[in-house]
Symmetry: C2
Subunit: 320 residues, 2 copies
Amino acid sequence: MDLMEYLDSTQKQVDRMIDRFFGDEFLELGKASAHLLLAGGKRLRPAVVMLAADAVKRGSSDEVMPAALALELTHSFTLIHDDIMDSDAFRRGVPTVHTKWDEPTAILAGDVLYARAFEFISIAEASDNAKVRAISMLAAACVEICNGQHMDMSFEKRNDVTVGEYLEMVSKKTGALYAASAGIGSILAGGNAVKTHALYHYGLYTGMAFQIQDDLIDIMTTPEKSGKDRASDIREGKQTLITLKAKEKGLDLSEYRRELTDKEIDELIERLASLGVIREVRDTALELVEKGKEIVSILPDSEAKRLLIDIGDYFVTRGY
Amino acid sequence: MDLMEYLDSTQKQVDRMIDRFFGDEFLELGKASAHLLLAGGKRLRPAVVMLAADAVKRGSSDEVMPAALALELTHSFTLIHDDIMDSDAFRRGVPTVHTKWDEPTAILAGDVLYARAFEFISIAEASDNAKVRAISMLAAACVEICNGQHMDMSFEKRNDVTVGEYLEMVSKKTGALYAASAGIGSILAGGNAVKTHALYHYGLYTGMAFQIQDDLIDIMTTPEKSGKDRASDIREGKQTLITLKAKEKGLDLSEYRRELTDKEIDELIERLASLGVIREVRDTALELVEKGKEIVSILPDSEAKRLLIDIGDYFVTRGY
């Protein structure tokens, strides 16, 4: 099976589970919790959970489905809370939870999904010992994500952020959940410490690359494809690897913290390209993916392993 | 040992653990997470975890200490998020987290404690099977608490709340965490389904009584003792069992939704007393405690069982 077919089929599987467990909420708070989940998504973290499980023990992806859903719930909970913190009004083409309802409801809606993530891991088909370790890994990832989000917010008030700090932030904010996805898939499928370690770090590095690609997509992709305004990071003064690398080369992007015309954005991209910024940022993402692919190469060959490698490549080639 | 001595000693034990794990936070977000925990508290939920464990298996309270801490962390996380939703500026004599830091930090600080609660259960000394069931029970309790808080907020916009709805809200918002405290103590100590069911419902009923007593304390206790302004619930127009019972007797407390003098509060209490409201509310709390005590009576006699019964009485006799 090729990767796009695989992702398409797991997406449908996850969508069906979400519909089954969250499609028919009775309470208003339940509807608020389900809102973003039902608005769609690529369901990449569940795919990584299932592939990691299959790479460790062929055919175990069905057994870890509840855990795959748990990782999507965790992702959705962080989006709901992040949208409050960032005052974002739209996501996935729908109003964010705190916009459609209110802030208190959005805080609680995230809190509900958070708990349900742990509930769903506890009902996966796996040994109790594996479940306890998986729960512990998810909890640790959640702490990391919070620290990453807090770092990211603190960056907005600083103008001396280093590339090292940025990479640390990305490893926590985005890497930790992909790491936990692959690690939990491995643990629940009975993977030993070496395999779990490899898969965890595969998720960490490719997850970081995923975020850097997101930063590139923000300026390179048209709004029709990406679903959000082009160059929103730059217009909002966010610190990304692009702004940090540009700064190293003497180009201060903070002067672009304002409304930009398409022409200005095109000129800016050209300038970033001629300074070598785009290439360096892309290289960083590619290097991280290579690290992830290398570390996962210790696993015995399988279709799942090949698809994990393909996902790494997909993370840094996707255009939206 | 008498109950006050016991509560005093478990409080010190929990305080020491909190100090060990949260007293020396390096990151700003860690400090924000630890802020309310370090501000003190009676640590009643940890005491219930430990007593339930001891009632099931004598001497097992040390083994469940991490889980006892987990229940306090869960309580603290709900307080941090509730304070944001209710816009409360002070608690336990210190500024609330969103006041001392900011709202985004407070959301994240709560989210960090949430994850760490699950981490701490996973390191309790118990069988893996027991830990998975305990984690599942904690997760379910968290969903209940969120639903209870959402119900409570929705009550503020309604004037047709029934006593039944109020009791349902209290069972979720406060009862569920006491229920989980006793249930988790039992599960981790190896309690069978009958004992765990009994202890869970003991926690549920006495926890509900605890909240009703809180409502009474709000109007009956002087600010010096309770640490908050007298009759704040009535001045803020909150729906409690007192306002609902008063309404049944034709006294609409919404006209008191304003600044009140001490004299006005004293007169109001007298009126509530002469209408029989105070007695009826107190009776409801006492009935719940009796239900809790009755259900826990199926356990074999032990000092822990006696202390659990004493805690029930303490919940509805305490003045602050």
